[in-house]
Amino acid sequence: ETIGVSMALFDDNFLTVLRNGMQDYSKTLKGVSLQIEDAQNDVAKQQSQIQNFVAAGVDAIIVNPVDTDATAAMSKIAADAGVPLIFVNRQPANLNQLPEKQAFVGSDEHQAGTLETQEVCRLLKGKGNAVIMMGELSNQAARVRTQAVKDLAGKGDCAGLKIVEEQTANWSRTQGADLVTNWLSAGLQFDAVISNNDEMAIGAIQALKAAGKPMNSVVVAGVDATQDALASMSAGDLDVTVFQNAVGQGKGAVDAAVKLAKGEKVERNVNIPFELVTPANLSKYQNKN
């Protein structure tokens, strides 16, 4: 079988692990080949890629949606052409109306933000000032993860958590470092940095270190559990990250696609949950992503 894969973008560490996971897994299956395309974060480009896949006559399509609100149009294209479609990693808005031969394999972004924040609250003993570093503002994951932090702040275990500042560093490590330096120079006081991803969190750590702040005075949290993040955690710098099982998602997506292509049935929603990573269970994740 030929499976067309449209990734939201290639320049993303987590999605790269996911993509490579799918690629590697497909090689272990006989007769399955992947045609992977880069949508470069462009909804329209992604839609066109799906149409190009249809024109090229692929047996199934896997989509890692740029925007989960734009999935209805894609579902329709695939359904009209009778090609099976799997959404991976980001939950499509039309999950409940997915047509025949379509499914979702992935995790709930809200959970990532929640796990991250809960652990921060625990470390801060429920009280303290936090800053949020957001990913690209037009990006779904950035918004949902940020929203999760805000949903928790001031409530329950996090009653004493106060968000003092939120800014974007566009997922980038250097921009993250620059942002934190700018905050520090403005005299902002904070006890925790809650970042939408690990890259910005590592940037924050670099900036804090450069400014001579002791790393045990600030809780830094990220999402993704990338290799760099785990290294940073074992060095005692990063305090919290959240593991998203990229390999599991990739494997699940390819499996589902193959099954649908063969005319078999699959579950509509295959959830692969996020997992919290702290120095305590770090070793378990060392070789996973």
Partner: protein, 342 residues
Amino acid sequence: MNNDVATSATPLRTERNRKRRMPPEASILLVLIGIALLYEALGWIFVGQSFLMNQQRLTIMILQVSVIGIISVGVTQVIITGGIDLSSGSVVGMTAMIAASFAQSSTWTRALYPSLTDLPFIVPMLVGLAVGLLAGFINGQLIARTKIPPFIATLGMYVSARGLAKWYTKGQPISGLTDSFNFIGSGAWPVVVFLTVAIIFHIALRYTRYGKFTYAIGANMQAARVSGINIEAHLVKVYAIAGLLAGLAGIVTAARAQTAQSGMGVGYELDAIAAAVIGGTSLTGGAGRITGTVIGTIILGVMTSGFTFLRVDAYYQEIVKGVIIVAAVVVDVHRQKKRKTR
């Protein structure tokens, strides 16, 4: 400097009957045909099927670039005046957001303006066009009045319009659009819009005073001024039209995706400029045609479809894409030079 030296001495009126020269875009059309035939041949060799004999593929080849094409028609005019428009991609995003917010269906529970749902499709349409027009008008006014370089004026709009698109809903996408709005993005409608726009402005540039002024300003602004053309007023028009078309492109984009997202149109400005330049529009102004731009746009589309068709690895695609863009223009420039010195 006359590197390209004419062959005859004083050209006489009797030369009227000389063979009409091939139009400049003929050469880039040959490049397009060359690329298509190459894919066709490779297709039979490696994939065992025809590249061109596939209705679906022929449609998507143009469909996927029709938004770029719509923008590019406006950008071509701007470039002919000797300017540049970097803002088009951002204006697409901004317009998509604002237009879509007036196109939400009442069945969608999270409508941005719950009291303004289920409006007839003409409302978001006009709102979108107005937003695009306004952005272009501001570009034009800045350039004509304050005499800042078009690069800077439109760069400012590029940054601001994108910011506005994000700010408008704090980055939330706008979904649940009405079917009547989505219609314009369905099927091959974007292609129809693109070609209609192209035909209109092909005619405008070649057969109206608007067109003559546009070329004159780009060819020699000083000459245009002393010929009595109101440069400022005309530039405002040209940039406003470019904005209007970017606005139209934004509407089509949103309708096609059935949602609007603040990141829509990122990077389109470069694609649109590339399409125009590949099609023979000169960045120094004064030369360029819509037919060329349409061909340039289609080259981009054919290239993309061809990659998927031939299962080119995505990692190589970009590397090769860059090479093809350069090669297409090299071939074109070379052919034109040869024709001149012949």
